[in-house]
């Protein structure tokens, strides 16, 4: 019995170790000698490349900005990297090059780029489709309060939730409740009154600070 337990624990540890190893490998990979741009993430350090070697793409879990090498060890910010989600353009120009980065720090490992394999999605048939979807009404996809910074002109369930908070905080009266859940001028005025009372920056935007105080009151 004890031996079985020990074997089980060993196998769990071995599996975990292998999983962790693969995750580390996937965390960062360097590509393209010619693209001339690099990606970095707050969590992943920026690595340098030798001149003429082209670019360095450090692929991390959440890429944030696009960098272009301008000298031996300097990069310039090209743009915010939010224009597309797939990043397929980076892979297409990789050409199978390998990095010659001489980075002095960072945990990102240098590997050869491989295009991502598209996930295989099984075709949805009437047999595989959950029956509930056929009979229940379409779920409300409205965002909940806090999912975005609310500003004038926005509309949705989160605006309704904000209005109720403003009513509770007595900065909005019932007769000023907006029609059709729209963040209108009355709501903006109420937010400004609240921000002013709480000595926040009075901009009429409901960011996390304003929201936190609205909920605390």
């Amino acid at each position: 019995m004890r031996k079985r337990l020990q074997d089980l624990v060993r196998s769990v540890i071995a599996t975990s170790a292998s999983l962790l190893g693969s995750a580390t490998t996937a965390d960062a990979e360097v590509v393209t000698p010619s693209v001339g741009e690099a990606l970095n993430d707050q969590a992943a350090p920026i690595r340098t490349a030798a001149p003429g070697q082209g670019a360095l793409i450090v692929r991390a879990a959440r890429p944030r900005v696009l960098l272009r090498p301008i000298s031996d060890n300097a990069y310039s910010l090209v743009s915010s990297h939010r224009s597309h989600r797939s990043h397929s353009s980076h892979y297409s120009s990789s050409g199978g090059g390998s990095s010659s980065g001489s980075g002095s720090s960072g945990s990102g490992r240098t590997t050869t780029a491989t295009p991502p394999k598209p996930a295989r999605v099984p075709a949805e048939t009437s047999a595989t489709k959950p029956k509930a979807l056929l009979t229940t009404p379409k779920a409300d996809t409205g965002l909940n309060l806090g999912a975005r910074v609310l500003v004038r002109g926005m509309k949705g369930r989160d605006v309704e939730q904000l209005v109720i908070l403003l009513l509770k905080n007595k900065v909005l009266t019932a007769d000023k409740i907006p029609t059709d859940s729209v963040f209108d001028a009355n709501v903006e005025d109420a937010v400004k009154i609240f921000q002013s009372t709480e000595k926040l920056s009075v901009d009429g935007k409901v960011d996390y600070r304003t929201l936190l105080l609205l909920k605390m009151k």
Binding site: T135, V159, V163, I164, L167, D175, T179, S181
Partner: protein, 213 residues
């Protein structure tokens, strides 16, 4: 078919509500033809009999706080007045059978008002007309469902208690009413506001001043 015609003829005053039609369409889409027929039949009935009690149909889950969005209704009441509620802008869209529209329907309000009238509705609701304390010409409707029509609701006891507490209260008494906001279909109810706003259901009533004013 003649049977359906007779039944529908008996209920000529009944409006075919969009919410119910949608509901029927949803059920029909699900392949439940019998249920769809029942739902369509209900469109022609102003109320549904539960034992000896006749219960409402139009947006009934919303009216008894058993709709899909009822969990989102804020429990802490917002202090307001009859005049303020009567001047809320009415939403322009449709009013779904089982969902809430606007922040008004997701909020609980508490108002002090003068009790103008209490009557029984055909759907067994207790119908109250509340007048604003400052502007007498402004009034709204507030309704307490029959707990027999809210079986399974966690508020059934509250409805029964509210109905008990309003019995015997004289016209003109000052009451404090806690209820959930609701937009009714505009069908010229007496004592109703122009925007159709109501407190529906009423969750509690407190008699502030029983002396008629």
């Amino acid at each position: 078919m003649p049977m359906v015609a007779i039944v529908s003829g008996l209920h000529l005053g009944v409006t075919l509500t969009e919410g119910l039609m949608n509901r029927a369409a949803q059920i029909q889409a699900g392949g439940q033809s019998t249920a769809a027929l029942v739902a369509i039949f209900l469109c022609f009935c102003p109320s549904l009999a539960v034992g000896q009690t006749r219960c409402g149909v139009e947006r009934w889950p919303v009216k008894i706080l058993m709709d899909i969005d009822s969990k989102d209704v804020a429990g802490e009441p917002v202090i307001t007045t009859v005049a303020q509620l009567a001047s809320v802008k009415r939403p322009t869209g449709t009013f779904p059978y089982n969902r809430r529209v606007s922040a008004v329907e997701r909020a609980t309000f508490v108002v002090k008002a003068r009790l103008d009238r209490v009557s029984a509705e055909s759907d067994s609701d207790m119908h109250l007309v509340l007048r604003d304390l400052d502007v007498d010409s402004i009034s709204i409707i507030a309704e307490i469902p029959d707990s027999a029509c809210a079986v399974g609701s966690q508020h059934a006891t509250a409805y029964a208690e509210a109905r008990r507490s309003i019995r015997g209260v004289k016209r003109g008494a000052i009451v404090e009413v806690v209820g959930v906001g609701f937009f009714d279909f505009l069908h010229g109810q007496s004592g109703g506001s122009q925007n159709g706003v109501e407190l529906h259901p009423i969750l509690s009533i407190r008699i502030v001043d029983p002396v008629a004013r």
